[in-house]
């Protein structure tokens, strides 16, 4: 009688990113998923890059010289940003889990994201001026 369509299912993971009607906590949830996926992708990329070492020091040095340009530096900044946004969002989850600031989780989220963005900006300035 009833339809299957509206049942919960792992294949509905896309709905995690559906923006309509989201509250602050929902956006924090989306941010955590996006940054986690980005960091996981980077982990594999990092392992592939490290495998260059197996081809000898000069191959690795050549590769480092190749990626020494603003596009790759921006990519590295994205990794830094994902790490800090994910980490500080994680602090929100740990604190609220133990009853700290549960009724003020929005303010907690904004405060932590503000700190994360300041740190990301400092990293960005240093990375592009070094």
């Amino acid at each position: 009688m009833e339809t299957q369509r509206n049942r919960p299912s792992p294949s509905k993971f896309w709905s995690w990113f559906f923006p309509v009607g989201r509250q602050t906590g929902g956006w924090a949830y989306v941010l955590n998923r996006v940054t986690a996926l980005g960091l996981t992708f980077y982990l594999y990329l990092h392992l592939i890059i490290l495998s260059k070492l197996a081809q000898g020091p000069s191959a690795y040095d050549d590769f480092l010289a190749f990626i020494h340009n603003p596009v790759y530096t921006f990519g590295e900044l994205l990794v830094v940003a994902a790490a800090f946004l994910h980490g500080f969002n994680g602090i929100r989850i740990v604190l609220t889990t133990f009853g700290v600031s549960v009724t003020r989780q929005k303010q907690l989220f904004y405060g932590l994201m503000f700190i994360a963005i300041i740190i990301i900006l400092i990293f960005g300035i240093r990375m592009f001026t070094a």
Binding site: N6, P8, S9, K12, G21, Q23, G26, A28, F98
Partner: protein, 244 residues
């Protein structure tokens, strides 16, 4: 009620057995101070008798008329049209998510009711346990003989709004975990194994969407967090009891 009239298009999700879902549109004149449920009922009364939806009390006590209004979970009997649309606009009404559709806007809430039973959620409580509006320290012990309806009206809005509930059919869900928290692990230690599990409190990933949509001040997210604290302290005290 106001003298003002708005012309809106009510766009309603339709799906009968073995039918592909689609939307039906109904042009109608409404008073912006009517409720969304009034408009849905008028469609059924004057335009389309095949429209299926659930409702009963019309004053936010039965929890039957939960729907998604423009993508957001609402109890339609207390949602003013004025608050969710404007003159000349389209108002989209859909069934709750994460519950199987029986027909059109009516969903099968059986899983919620069964799970509420499984955690022993109480429909009435001693007034002394009313947490939010009246903290327990304001009551005298003898007041415990008076009872009140529990805050949760089992409308399912929180489960529809929860992103974790969308991908896990086994997840107990916010209302059920809130029901377990209201009982307390000290009062009902048997609940520990049920809520301290993959599909219990740890499935919640702190989106707080449940609290945002709850029409009845249950604040399920706060209760889930409190239940986690109860679990940790219960586990620790069991560990030390075993060692001593």
């Amino acid at each position: 009620m106001s003298e003002t009239k708005w012309n809106i298009i009510l766009k309603i999700y339709r799906q009968k057995e073995n039918e592909a879902p689609h939307y039906s549109e109904y042009k109608m004149e409404v008073d912006p101070d009517e409720y969304v449920l009034d408009a849905v009922e008028r469609v059924w009364a004057f335009m389309d008798r095949s429209l299926c939806f659930r409702h009963a009390c019309h004053h936010s006590t039965c929890g039957a008329c939960g729907m998604r209004v423009n993508g957001v979970e609402k109890l339609t009997c207390i949602t003013y049209i004025r608050d969710v649309t404007q003159d000349g606009a389209t108002l989209k009404v859909e069934p709750l998510r994460n519950f199987p559709v029986i027909s059109d806007l009516a969903v099968d809430m059986g899983s919620l009711y069964c799970r509420m039973d499984s955690v022993g959620a109480r429909p009435v409580l001693p007034v002394t346990e009313a947490e939010i509006e009246n903290p327990s320290n304001k009551w005298n012990p003898e007041d415990a003989k008076y009872i009140r309806l529990s805050d949760c009206i089992e409308c399912g809005l929180c489960i529809s709004a929860c992103p974790s509930a969308a991908t896990s059919s086994g997840y107990l869900g916010p209302a059920v975990l809130a029901g377990a928290q209201a009982n307390g692990l000290k009062h009902d230690p048997a609940l520990l194994e049920l809520v301290d599990s993959e599909d219990g409190v740890w499935r919640c990933h702190s989106a707080f969407e449940c609290t945002a949509v709850c029409p009845s001040f249950v604040d399920p997210a706060r209760r889930i967090m409190n239940l986690r604290t109860q679990i940790v302290s219960e586990r620790l005290s069991r560990l030390f009891r075993r060692k001593s």
